[in-house]
């Protein structure tokens, strides 16, 4: 068998490049990360008619080879690395029939690198409706290459594309424009400095705003040729762009006609509503309400089911396998750990279902347009809106949603502040503490408990925005970026693309962040189910002896033993040991244990207190009664009094009490640096605020 053919898919965003990739590769695709950076690497394979295997690399969407983001830089670097294994034998440049002129700019750039290139004109099925005619034969002659009309919606043209790929060696590699014509002096000098290199490749290296590192060694030397981003270079870049447009305009009128009157009715009508300064926000609000409903309410059904199934599985394992450390590890460590990963799947799937629909339909750009001005004040982008709002359901999918923000700084800030928004896991903790310490009274027609809950949501959102504002001042931007967003045509989303996005994001969460979550769950299990003292190992005898006269039934006895064991397990010991640290916040060792265990997930707080107070079920009423009557052994006062309650609410509002968030931030930023900074800053801030609140209120 011959070696597989490397095919790079290149194209502007919104051209349907992903649809073509999906059609070529089907489910034989892999999504990973490029080493060291957080740009998605998508690759797959397909069989060509003659049996050759083609390795398809879906390069990130790019408008040009003059990179202005990490994604675009990666594309350029890939095309300048002849010696790397992913260097394409042939490039497939995907263009959208409506924006052919602009898409051809990128095509001429690829051709000038002397890479065999095929032009795919996508959305060919739209031509008639939009009044477009295209003379394919003439276009092929003018651009000195092959052109394929493809419709990813009707799945036509893919066969033809595959046959052309087989024949790639017959594609001409002639250049489209000649740089030497633009400015003979400059370009002759550049060529003489590196006589063996392709002039356009050299120019790309010299003219980028940032040096290109991951390219062929000979070319890398050109990085030091001259200063970057000088007015001279900018002037030459403009001349180059004009030359490309001249090249295209020379023939475009003869091969491509569009009847403008047919094209715009739909679009302008929708735009008039969706980008309107009043109606636009109303629609946006309704759409967000729907998204929020879906991740908050609709996903609760499958989540409850998952929760129950894993609990049952865990019980079944405990009852049916021989007793011992292995069964315990399986039933109380691994199974709940996996359950703790799978439980997020419905929320992630729903969120990405909607995000993918918003992106594919073209509506996302309108949201960015409407929200950009407001968000920019806080160092965020119009695209930060979706992560921040979906963070109210769960920070995990929300952090993943920040991937759509191209600007690295804005994306990082969004990721760092999203966990402040009040996620649904905080809700059980809030509810029980509010019920304990806030009087159920009505003030001016409003229920005081309801107001407190609302205040906590406002506090979370306010804190997110405020810290974004601060981070914006502190963080340095990697590259100077400008805000230019395309406002694409409205399209009906392709179900296949939506489905693939949902599958891919869910998979990347389970196998990326999931590993870390599972590992931490096992550690927490070990700490909770092991101890070193006699108190721990002889818990049963001790409890039975102590309660001899109490006449407990079997159920009550089991929970009393569990409670005693937990108090003397490693986690219990940690709880005792951190008591001095958390005492200024008004907490005792019992709350300390709950703080540690709720690192697995915030809602575990309630379950842990249930075990400590040896309430058999996590029936909320019973726990509440136990909690409300408990006293602080040092002060003799009620443990859950008003100051402690407020202090706890604030702590849960601000602290990063969630290992899954850490795991997903690690995955999305590709380093432990940011999640650790986040953990220290958020939890440190929470500690400070809770302490101040407790000390003032006490």
């Amino acid at each position: 068998m011959s070696k597989p053919l490397n095919v790079a898919l290149i194209g502007n965003p919104n051209t349907g490049k992903t649809s073509i990739f999906n059609l070529l590769t089907g489910l034989s695709q892999k999504v990973g990360n490029y080493p060291g950076i957080t740009v998605e690497k998508k690759e797959g394979s397909c069989k060509l008619p003659n049996g050759t295997k083609a390795h398809i690399i879906d390069l990130p969407g790019t408008y040009s080879l003059n990179a202005s983001s990490a994604d675009e830089q990666l594309v350029v670097e890939n095309l300048l690395s002849r010696n790397k294994k992913d260097y394409p034998d042939v490039a497939v440049v995907v263009a959208d029939v409506e924006n052919l002129k602009r898409n051809l700019i990128l095509f001429t750039q690829i051709k000038d690198l002397q890479i065999p290139a095929i032009l795919v004109v996508n959305m060919a099925d739209q031509m008639e409706r939009r009044g477009i005619t295209l003379d394919v034969a003439m276009l092929e002659k003018k651009i000195q290459s092959k052109v394929v009309l493809v419709s990813s919606r009707k799945r036509t043209g893919i066969g033809e594309l595959k046959s052309l790929l087989e024949d790639y060696q017959n594609l001409p590699v002639s250049a489209t424009i000649h740089l030497a014509d633009i400015d003979p002096d400059y370009f002759d000098r550049l060529q003489q400095a590196y006589p063996t290199q392709n002039l356009y490749s050299l120019w790309l290296v010299v003219s980028q705003d940032v040096p290109l590192e991951k390219i062929d060694e000979d070319l890398r030397k050109a990085n030091t040729y001259s200063a970057r981003a000088t007015p001279e270079i900018k002037r030459l870049q403009q001349k180059e762009t004009i030359a490309r447009y001249l090249f295209i305009n020379r023939f475009l009128k003869d091969v491509y006609q569009a009847d403008a009157s047919k094209a715009t009715d739909w679009r302008s009508l929708l735009d008039r509503v969706l980008t309107h300064r009043v109606a636009g926000y109303i629609v946006f609000f309704l759409v967000m309400l729907l998204v929020f409903q879906a991740i908050y309410n609709w996903s609760s059904v499958p989540m409850d089911f998952i929760d129950e199934s894993f609990t049952r599985l865990s019980e079944w394992t405990n009852n049916h396998l021989p007793e011992g450390p292995f069964t315990s590890l399986l039933a109380e460590g691994i199974i709940p750990g996996i359950g703790g990963i799978v439980i997020f799947v419905p929320q992630i799937a729903f969120l990405f279902l909607f995000i993918s629909l918003l992106e594919e339909s073209g509506y996302m750009s309108r949201i960015v347009f409407l929200m950009d001005r407001v968000m920019r004040r806080f160092g965020l982008s119009g695209k930060s809106v979706v992560p921040l709002i979906s963070g109210t359901a769960c920070a995990i999918p929300a952090v993943m949603a920040a991937r759509n923000i191209e600007n690295w700084k804005e994306r990082l800030i969004t990721i760092l502040v999203t966990p402040f928004t009040t996620c649904s896991a905080r809700l059980p903790v809030y509810l029980i503490i509010i019920a304990l310490v806030i009087p159920d009274r009505t003030i001016a027609g409003f229920n005081l408990q309801g107001l407190t809950l609302m205040g906590l949501y406002a506090l979370g959102f306010g804190m997110a925005v405020f810290s974004a504002f601060i981070l914006d001042k502190i963080l340095k931007n990697k590259a100077r970026t400008f805000f230019v967003i395309e406002m694409p045509a409205y399209k009906l989303p392709l179900p296949k693309n939506v489905l693939y996005t949902v599958i891919e994001k869910t998979k990347s969460f389970i196998f990326g962040a999931g590993k870390i979550i599972l590992a931490i769950s096992i550690v927490l299990w070990f700490l909770a189910s092991n101890g070193y003292s006699d108190d721990f190992y002889q818990a049963e005898e001790i409890v039975r002896a102590q309660t001899e006269n109490a006449q407990l039934d079997e159920q009550e006895m089991t929970t009393a033993i569990a409670s005693y064991q937990l108090r003397h397990s490693y986690i219990g010991i940690i709880g005792h040991n951190i008591e001095p640290v958390i005492r200024p916040l008004g907490y005792d060792w019992k709350i300390g244990i709950a703080l540690v265990t709720s690192f697995a997930a915030r809602e575990v707080f309630v379950a842990t207190l249930a075990t400590i107070y040896s309430v058999g079920s996590d029936e909320e009423e019973t726990i509440k009664v136990r909690m409300s009557t408990d006293t602080n052994s040092r002060t003799g006062e009620k443990l859950f009094n008003f100051p402690t309650g407020i202090s706890l609410l604030l702590f849960y509002a601000f602290a990063l009490q969630c290992m899954s968030t850490l795991a997903v931030v690690k995955k999305e930023t590709n380093s432990w640096k940011w999640p650790l900074i986040q953990l220290v800053l958020m939890t440190g801030f929470a500690y400070l605020v809770s302490m101040i609140a407790y000390q003032l209120l006490k």
Partner: protein, 84 residues
């Protein structure tokens, strides 16, 4: 047709009203990203204002057949001649 009455005042893209068109004139090359130029923002091309977000920022434009949005800070840097 070019309106000569306005041609003497330096209009920029930011002075367009909704629906109005202009012809792009000069701008300083080191302040306007190449990306925007590649999308057709070049001297001599036509620009139309489609929609304004609240506070008149960003601006939703059609430049040389391409639909895109830019921020006001960029729009004020690009001179135009209004078409009536």
């Amino acid at each position: 047709m070019i309106n000569f009455k306005h041609a003497t005042i330096k209009d920029t893209i930011s002075s367009l009203k909704r629906g109005e068109k202009g012809i792009i004139g000069n701008f300083s090359v080191d302040q306007i990203p190449v990306k925007l130029q590649e999308m057709g923002c070049l001297p001599g091309n036509e620009v139309q204002l489609i929609q304004l977000a609240p506070f008149s920022d960003p601006l939703y434009l059609n430049i040389n057949g391409n639909n895109l949005a830019i921020r006001r800070e960029t729009a004020v840097l690009i001179e135009i001649t209004k078409i009536v």
